[in-house]
């Protein structure tokens, strides 16, 4: 009888030890591969033209639901999670901006659960759940990398867009109350988005310019209906998120081609409540600037709005 008790005890020790040992398996191979592929896209990203914009300058924290795996300079270290919720963002950790992303497994599972994780992360996701995979995660990683770059190099310029009267914590509220709640503003915005898409599809540069001019006239009319604060919020969102979404879509295009890019990013034509609409409008403006002012990225310091960039043409 004693031998059975000993065997029973040994079995327990084996299970406990095995569970502990296998529990620290680290970052999955799929996430490591995602980071490697993202790094390999650096040369393509350099051609876009944002100066000194380099993924390797920023640590990437993959959150697996329990802990962060910090990837930097060929090393991976486990660390306490900065956020215990699934977010794609950049955040100041130990005096530097780092990129925070859920692991691709968790992000995919989140899509499985919710259909579209956009509303949970930053409103930036353009994919349906069946489409979200490594390529999409790499694009999201570059989206967040641009945020890390913006926060590290152009923080004061970006907050300057908001002006002194708007606190950073209140900006989504302003969108919802002052902009989404005003039906005249909404209708004008819808017309403007149609114009942006039309300009993007136009073949001739002169035609594009003419459509952009029409867009800007409507913009002036629409902004006449908005408070100064609301206008500042729109400028801020388009500059910070529109450019990030533009980066994300460009990286997606590098991986999957132009048709896939258009399908994933240019299909959104309806009115989206909240800040999500500025991701799309800002991104569209970046694409128009690509054609109307090639190389605009090299001088852009985020201190002026994308509208001002278009007006200057």
């Amino acid at each position: 009888m004693k031998i059975y008790r000993i065997l029973y005890g040994v079995l327990g020790v084996i299970f406990l030890t095995g569970t502990i040992i296998t529990g620290n398996s680290g970052l999955s191979a799929e996430n490591k591969a995602i980071y490697e592929v993202a790094l390999n896209l650096q040369e393509d990203v350099n051609r876009i033209g944002f100066p000194n914009f380099d993924l390797e300058d920023y640590k990437v924290r993959f959150f697996d639901g329990r802990a962060d795996y910090v990837v930097s300079g060929g090393t991976i270290e486990k660390d306490d999670a900065v956020f215990t919720t699934f977010v794609g963002t950049t955040y100041e950790v130990d005096g530097e901006y780092q990129i925070i992303l859920p692991t691709v497994e968790n992000f995919s599972a989140m899509f499985d659960l919710l259909g579209n994780a956009g509303s949970l992360a930053e409103g930036s996701m353009n994919f349906t759940q069946s489409q979200y995979g490594p390529e999409e995660h790499i694009s999201t990683l570059w989206h967040e990398t641009l945020h890390a770059y913006q926060m590290s190099c152009y923080y004061s310029e970006l907050t300057g867009l908001l002006g002194k009267s708007v606190g950073e914590g209140n900006i989504e509220g302003i969108v919802v109350s002052s902009i989404d709640g005003n039906q005249n503003v909404v209708e004008l915005y819808k017309k403007q988005m149609e114009l942006l898409h039309k300009a993007f599809e136009a073949r001739e540069l002169t035609e594009k310019k003419a459509i952009v001019a029409d867009y800007l006239k409507l913009e002036q009319q629409r902004r006449g209906l908005l408070s100064e604060e609301a206008c500042a919020v729109e400028d801020y969102y388009e500059a910070i998120e529109g450019t990030a979404c533009y980066m994300e879509s460009r990286v997606y295009g590098f991986q999957k081609g132009l048709d896939a890019l258009k399908e994933a990013y240019m299909g959104q034509t309806g009115y989206e409540k909240g800040s999500a609409k500025y991701y799309t409008s800002g991104m569209m403006k970046c694409y128009l600037l690509d054609e109307l002012a090639p190389g605009w990225q090299s001088d852009y310091d985020f201190s002026i709005s994308l509208n001002e960039m278009l007006m200057a043409l």
């Binding site: 095995g18 639901g65 919720t85 699934f86 599972a109 949970l120």
Partner: protein, 251 residues
Amino acid sequence: MTITMNALKERIRRKELYIVVAVSLIILAFCGSDAATISVEGESVTGFESMFKVLHIIVNAAGCLLSMVLSLRTIPAEYQEKRSHLIWIRGVSQAGYHAQLAAANVVSSAIAVMILYAALIIYAVIQGAAGYIPTMIPGLLIVILNIAIISLLTSVLSIGLPSFVAGMISSICVLVGVLHGILDIYKNIIGGFSGAIVKWVLLIFPDLNGIQGQAAGLVLGKGIDFHVILKGLLTLYIISLGLWVFRKKEA
């Protein structure tokens, strides 16, 4: 062993195993037929792998519920029908007696899930995916781990608690266990105090979905995460300690 065999014979005599399995098979046959359209994201799931994953989840959930039903009354019935006194006079310890009855519960539950799994094998053959059958055997063994967890948990709870309470706790365990993956994601979406509560709930309840997922993945040729399996085995081990902790007053 004699007690286990007798308990199994009693189970077969009462035919409860057949009735519950028959009901489950009807559900499974319906899911596997053209009569049911399972859609994910509004799109019909038709490919074998997609459909297999869905059916595997159903088999696992049905198997867990079956094992709970099959295990709930075994030990209390022994005492109600005064058969326990026949055991004491043979010098068998109470813990040993309960352990053998619990073993009978686990074996009968495993047989039930084997029958359910046989339906999956038939489904694979019908779908022209017989190539998956060899990996279904280890897949079945992994699913039996889930079944053993629920069966043993129900058996242990039925020693010290009224059947209704034991059944309720086991049902909650099955529910949380099969939804473990979803809840795990959910806790990281909601965060805050609610997220912390869900986190603790998930720590307490076994990850039946994780184990099921490993089994399905193994069948479909994906790698296996041994941590999930070992955690399941450890859970089973911890539950088994209850056989020594819980005592019936009658003895």
